[in-house]
């Protein structure tokens, strides 16, 4: 676990990076100084820290999307259905007021009890879920409502019907639509950010991540099963591919880490929501003055810069 000092440091760094992204090089010296400190700290992230984040990100009492909706939005109105085939309960989407402004919010939703979990398919969406998400994003775009996405899924659902209805294409098109939106967009990984089913909702101007969330190309178990040929080696796999927030920040994949209450978001959902609300507000306030085409240009440039090669 990061200490309070580290978190403040990272938060500050994240904020400076955002400003920097918007305002050019004016703060680069300070960013660099903080970056150096951060790198030192990051070295100290142990495999145990990473596994603890995996466990907290999946904690059965962790607040889910609708727990945040309830605490952060007024006048919430959930919108249902993909207008073609189904209403996928693994993704929720709707309109609400966030500190006075109408926003659209889209996120995966896990279930709390077993009945709810089955109804929500454990937060694993079918193509119909992504199509609902896209429909609501288009609605937001038409009305100039900012878009907030909350990402919390073990992955898009791997099923026969899901494939038949075009899971790959739906995920691809959700990414593509988000690259075209002309509104301010903010994503936060609030639990499990599992694979393409997660990034499909996170091609946004700002990508935030809660302190104990994870964001990864494959689940630790899936990775272990393939590379170690033993799903039991999940902890080893997680240590190798480093899905924790600090590493995601370091790699430039997320722009800021949203602190959680001591012990994890589930220990105090109200406080966790307050901290998340602060981060979203700051991001929106930075983004709202930027012209739409400029937002879109920078958003694409941000993602096009991701990767390490020689």
């Amino acid at each position: 676990m990061a200490t309070d000092h580290e978190l403040r440091l990272r938060e500050r760094l994240a904020r400076l990076r955002s400003v920097n992204l918007l305002g050019g090089a004016r703060l680069s010296a300070e960013v660099e100084k903080l970056q150096r400190q951060l790198e030192r700290l990051a070295e100290e992230t142990t495999d145990e820290d990473i596994w603890r984040a995996v466990e907290l990100a999946r904690h059965q009492d962790r607040p889910y999307t609708l727990d945040y909706v309830e605490r952060l939005l007024d006048d919430w109105f959930e919108l249902r259905g993909d207008r073609g085939r189904a209403d996928d309960h693994a993704i929720v989407a709707g309109l609400g007021r966030f500190e006075g402004r109408t926003v659209a919010l889209v996120g995966q939703q896990k279930g709390r009890d077993i009945k709810d979990r089955i109804d929500r398919n454990f937060g694993s969406a079918h193509p119909e879920g992504y199509r609902k998400a896209m429909r609501v994003m288009e609605l937001a775009n038409r009305h100039d409502f900012p878009l907030i996405t909350l990402v919390d899924t073990p992955g898009a659902y791997p099923g026969v019907a899901a494939e038949q209805h075009g899971q790959g294409g739906a995920i691809a098109r959700s990414h593509a639509l988000m690259a075209r939106l002309e509104i301010p967009t903010v994503a936060c990984i609030i639990g499990e950010g599992g694979s393409g089913g997660a990034s499909a909702l996170a091609l946004t101007d700002r990508v935030l991540m809660q302190e104990n969330a994870i964001y990864s190309v494959i689940s630790p178990e899936g990775c272990a099963a393939i590379l170690w040929r033993d799903a039991g080696e999940a902890k080893k796999a997680a240590a190798a591919f480093k899905p924790d927030a600090l590493h995601c920040l370091e790699l430039g994949v997320v722009d800021g880490i949203v602190p959680e209450p001591e012990g994890g978001a589930h220990t105090d959902p109200d406080e966790a929501a307050r901290l998340l609300g602060d981060a979203i507000r700051e991001s929106l306030e930075e983004l709202e003055p930027v012209p739409a085409d400029e937002l879109k240009r920078r958003r694409r440039a941000r993602f096009r810069s991701l990767g390490v090669f020689a």
Partner: protein, 282 residues
């Protein structure tokens, strides 16, 4: 991390010799055996039963574009190892081995060319390089192919063959989904076109990003084209899978592709689409 790089000048020296005298290729469909040179003559399609063998990137390019027209781009890009990834072996070893085995620097080759005299950009994946997995270099090469197509005002022909994102690059591999999609959107905003050809297999992150975004999507016969592989689906759902689960023909029936094209007809189909999608008057 320079250990992951192989000097281009030596790659062909260290690549395996063409095995002209053996019959190392067994058709998984009809059990016939073929030498490499036999299959080269048939575009790596079994003359007996029509099974489409996987095709290496350079052979694919040669089969698609006008002879001598291909000019490779970004050939010297090589993967880094951002996570110091080590499973049973270091990622850097796996990269070096893949380069030695395939003679390629990465799982994708890009460049510009002409097809039946129509100019285009091409990006071709090679499954034999680490399962055609998409890491930072594949993402970057594909994105540069989009830019090159946009700059030249020509369509991009993409041939995909990939097991998905490259786990060894962790979250950065996942970020190649939004990255390549953003590049496609930039291409489309510039009035460009994307012709996506699905070769066996195209799964996971590649299917869930650029490969699905073609203005036109073609697929080779019997190519696996699914987000999740059949084994994962079977294990997750415990359902009996349909025989043609995820195959081109099934995807065609379900409305995800425009045409299933046998390899012998691919070039003619691509040429026709290039004529249609090239900007009028160019």
């Amino acid at each position: 991390m320079s250990s992951s790089r192989i000097d281009v000048s030596i790659e062909h020296r260290d690549a395996p010799e063409p095995q002209g005298t053996k019959h190392p290729n067994t058709c998984p469909q009809c059990d016939s055996h073929y030498r490499d040179d036999e299959l080269e003559r048939t575009l790596w399609v079994c003359p007996h039963c029509g099974h489409h063998f996987p095709m290496k990137a350079r052979a694919r390019i040669a089969s698609l574009v006008d002879e001598g027209s291909f000019v490779e781009e970004a050939a010297d890009l090589r993967s880094e190892d951002p996570l110091g990834f080590f499973d049973l072996r270091p990622y850097t070893d796996r990269l070096a081995e893949a380069e030695l085995k395939t003679g390629l620097g990465e799982a994708m080759v890009i460049g510009h060319a002409t097809v039946d005299t129509t100019a285009c950009e091409v990006s071709v994946m090679d499954f034999s390089f680490m399962g055609g997995s998409m890491g930072s270099v594949v993402g970057e090469k594909f994105s540069r192919a989009c830019d090159s197509a946009a700059e030249r005002g020509v369509p991009l022909v993409s041939v995909s063959a990939s097991g998905g994102a490259r786990m060894q690059e962790g979250i950065l591999a996942l970020m190649q989904l939004p990255k390549t999609v953003a590049a496609v959107e930039d291409l489309k905003d510039a009035g460009g076109a994307l012709i996506s050809v699905i070769a066996h297999p195209t799964t996971g992150g590649v299917l869930a990003s650029f490969a699905s975004l073609g203005d036109v999507v073609l697929a080779e016969p019997n190519a696996l084209m699914s987000f999740a592989g059949p084994r994962v689906v079977q294990q997750t759902t415990r359902e009996k899978l349909p025989d043609d689960f995820g195959r081109s023909e099934s995807n065609y029936r379900f409305g995800h592709i425009d045409k299933v094209v046998p390899r012998s007809e691919l070039r003619a189909n691509v040429a026709r689409l290039l004529r249609l999608l090239s900007k009028n008057g160019d």
